[in-house]
Symmetry: D3
Subunit: 233 residues, 6 copies
């Protein structure tokens, strides 16, 4: 099985972090095809970055589809371009944001998301409301750690995220945590041990859900909301 993972931003070192998390999570027979969206911005922080990233992301998914990918993962926690990618691709597409939230909702009555910057909070909130998982969400919290600062100083980033987890537990009643950025993939195990609750990160969650759909032969419906684009003259 071939799973393509597209990093919608142009930072190749972040693609490596993502690819490693995917390799750790995938089944023995699965190959990971990790792609950097070279025409995207260096990081996706807010609506404008997201908008610029989408055309390159869609190109990357179309190429991976031509190369035989059995399923696709969009490795930005905003689930950037997810609806368009689902309409474009034949094979199933999973966003890491939705993937982590779905799994967290199977582990706890209420989870909190700890993400990077405040500008992402309404985007993640909208996504959770739209897919209904807001019902299981205690809060979406910003750690004020920019995306690229995570790999620049992982210790400082973990410390800041850990503080925010503490607040989510104490004030919001969080029973599980979702790490709200692809760059945080390496922190889940340590933070889970430190805080004594499940910590879900999206890359591994999305890889397993992509494998699940591909194994079960399930593809995106082409009726209604994800109908393929109509040919233009």
């Amino acid at each position: 099985m071939l799973i393509s993972i597209v990093n919608p931003n142009a930072t190749a070192s972040m693609t490596r972090t993502i690819a490693e998390a995917a390799e750790r999570a995938c089944a023995p027979g699965t190959r990971i095809l990790a792609v950097t969206n070279k025409s995207g911005p260096p990081s996706i922080e807010g609506h404008v970055d997201g908008a610029w990233a989408v055309p390159g992301l869609l190109d990357a998914i179309a190429r991976a589809e031509a190369d035989g990918a059995d399923a696709h993962v969009i490795a930005c926690f905003d689930d950037t371009g997810l609806d368009a990618a689902r309409s474009l691709a034949e094979k199933p597409v999973i966003g890491i944001g939705e993937a982590a939230a779905h799994l967290a909702s199977l582990l706890a009555r209420r989870f909190s998301v700890v993400t990077t910057l405040a500008c992402s909070v309404p985007i993640l909130t909208d996504n959770l409301k739209r897919n209904g998982l807001w019902e299981s969400c205690a809060s979406v919290r910003a750690s004020d750690v920019p995306v690229l600062a995570i790999e620049a100083d992982p210790e400082a980033a973990t410390r800041r995220i850990s503080e925010e987890i503490e607040i989510a537990i104490a004030q919001d009643g969080a029973e599980a945590i979702v790490l709200g950025c692809a760059g945080m993939a390496d922190f889940a195990v340590e933070l889970s041990g430190r805080h004594g609750l499940p910590v879900v990160e999206g890359v591994s969650a999305a890889v397993k859900l992509a494998e699940t759909l591909a194994t079960l032969g399930l593809r995106t419906s082409k009726r209604g909301g994800y109908a393929p684009p109509r040919p233009k003259e």
Copy 2:
């Protein structure tokens, strides 16, 4: 006052329809700057078309801002790229979809939207849910008239839309109608007379709301959800 209106698709004849509707609606002192997004698809029908249209749309808004626009209108009923445009621009930005729905909610307890194709129904539904106007929405109905067929055969299009309005009144309890495509701007008055209820079209609605915000000196908040994009290294 200068109001810029961007047609996110590349069809210049549709921009002319939009510009004429805007000119009819605007105040004596208002100038309309209508722009065609030449890098967009010929029409926006579904998520993929929308995604391809956004970068060119954002460029057009940035140029209009530099040219002194006091407010911006996005003339696609999907409100394509609205969040990104609001984050990018200094001046207020109005989508024609939200504009029509806001006005309709001031005229009737429940309105129905009659749009072009089925693939747009979930997009419009999502938008209405997100801004809360779903509470006043009786239904979103597709007329199965493609965007460019509206100007190719306006009579046939009006007939089909009129049939769908009849169903919305009888089955969904619609008390007002919102026309769900910029290309339908010319049909509102006739359809209102024919069906005996308010028919709101988005271009004129958005122009008046844009004038309203500009007159009152109100601009998009730069705190939180619409914070401008962070500078990248």
Copy 3:
């Protein structure tokens, strides 16, 4: 164009404040007909005051309609009697509460309302839930300034409102502010500058929306919810 604005309470000095805000906001060709509801209570603070005010308010609107008003504004932030007024009048009717909330939702993801007394909070919350704008509302906060204290000591009132705005920003994530009383119309510009975010007041918002509907030839639907009262034997 003639816009009638009814102050549902009996305090004529408050009608003058309202009329001045309306005159500042309206278009060059618009005339403002400001009316005091002499049979109303001196101020509307809670459900009972509101109930006593409605018959006189409806009379005033009927008279303004007979005098040729093109649209009506109800100048109490509770949108007192709005449904009844819409059913009674031929021409469109706008409440200042809904007007301010609609405009604020076009400027920010989440706005907070700062109103007068605690007894108004559930009334405003109900209104926002009913028209769906609660989806964009971060909080409704009472400043504990009674309605008539606003004009008795505007400086003290502004100070108190300003403190509450600070809390709304810090604790509730407000990105814009709505001033929740007709008597606060004069404070918007100063508070917007002081706090660095959009501050919307309802009188000017309602006047512009009333002008918008009248210009576009849009009237309240007479089907369903706002059907005129049936004649009685």
Copy 4:
């Protein structure tokens, strides 16, 4: 125990129907004080009738309170003036609309309301949404029987209501029925037998809930939403 029941409309024959239903339902020791709102309209059909009825209704409740009523019932299915009455009275106030819906929600997963005219449907829907019982409501249906036609021709009215009950069961999945007008109080038993499901009418429901609150010594909270009106200078 003394329960006051106010008929908000001016039709005395309807007050008699209401009083008889109340007498049948109340406990042995309860006395019923049935009052006609002589300053109200002959029937309450829509927002305008409701607005005109409220001042006289509030007067009647204040008088009943002075006469020693232990609880009050508002005998219009719209729950006309309920919030204002709760703020005004010391003793608990129950609307017949809310009373019937509360009881129906204890008997079935989903009930339908069958009311008089279409103009009442959005009023009842709003009430149910506001108090949360919309969650248990399958539909609100109009029988197109005007209020005063119920007593003019009870057989025809019952036939029409019965047809609408049939549709509510077949199409909306109604498991219980709420009769949506005080004038229908006499029809509940027969319709329940005919359709084989619980049929709740509001007068008896409200009388029992009023007795319940009075027996348990429970009164309307005077904090927050139902605070008494502030004294005016």
Copy 5:
């Protein structure tokens, strides 16, 4: 009239507290049949205790039905087994949790529930969301007093509950309080006096609602959600 009240847990002293509260609340002609579920756990604290209690509870209700009960009350604030009991019994069944919440919603715009342990909070929240009364609920708060500690040290329990009521008023805007455990039935009057707002406890509320339904001849609908179990081969 015979009202059966089943204490779903096996603690007989708690059944006595419940029976006394029921006796105090019921009408002169009502007899109370209080039953301890001897096969249940000593107290119901969380999902597992609740699951073990249900079969014995259903047996007890079936026996009471055979013994001529006119209505049934489930005397655990979780409304343990309520849906199954309604499907099984011919006569109406009321849970004390729903009963208290229904009455509280007639007395105040927003009530808070103060219950025993944190593990009950999501159960009560689910129940309120399902029946719609969440709309009127300001908060569900745990006092951290285990069920059996209430009768072991009522003074300490009252003190702890009283502290939580204070917080509910100050922080959550509670206008009325619901006591969230059958064992708290005796505390309502004192706490209402101390805090100056209505305090509703579920046993008396449920007894009155059970009497109400029985008096009005209303039974659980056997269509749809509460259809009796199908016979098995």
Copy 6:
């Protein structure tokens, strides 16, 4: 990896169908431990059957946990006893109803559930509302095929389900289908081909989600809602 699957009803032939579907879906290294709840009813149709099944189900899960299961699946579409099982077990627990709905929501904007009998519709609706997936649900439809009739006459059952799928597509706008009973596990592939859209069945969905959680080392949170039962004296 060892995945335990408990059939909450006592019909062993149904356990075999379930076990075969699980074997087909699971990864090469996974062993399936399929258990029949011998103390349960022959089939679970409605609330009462469900209530009787839970104690035996919890026992089966506790035994499987002692036998080294890495995750548990509850193989009834009602997700019978899921909350209690999650509180009791150390390892993750997945219900087949929630599993199928989660996967369907990744494949289509709106899915319909086609289940057995009408009495299950409100149970499934409640479950979907509680976990938020109602947001993606177009309808829950009963095929009127009793649980045990599925294996008695699979052809007739498939025909009836297929008719209901047709209605769900045409009337409810279903873009994907969820088969709402464990006994329907064998029909998914054929029905998907026949109707041209994704058809998800819960046993395979739950097995893959259970494997996913076990592979990623994720367990149910023991804070808050799923805290283990407190020890009793």
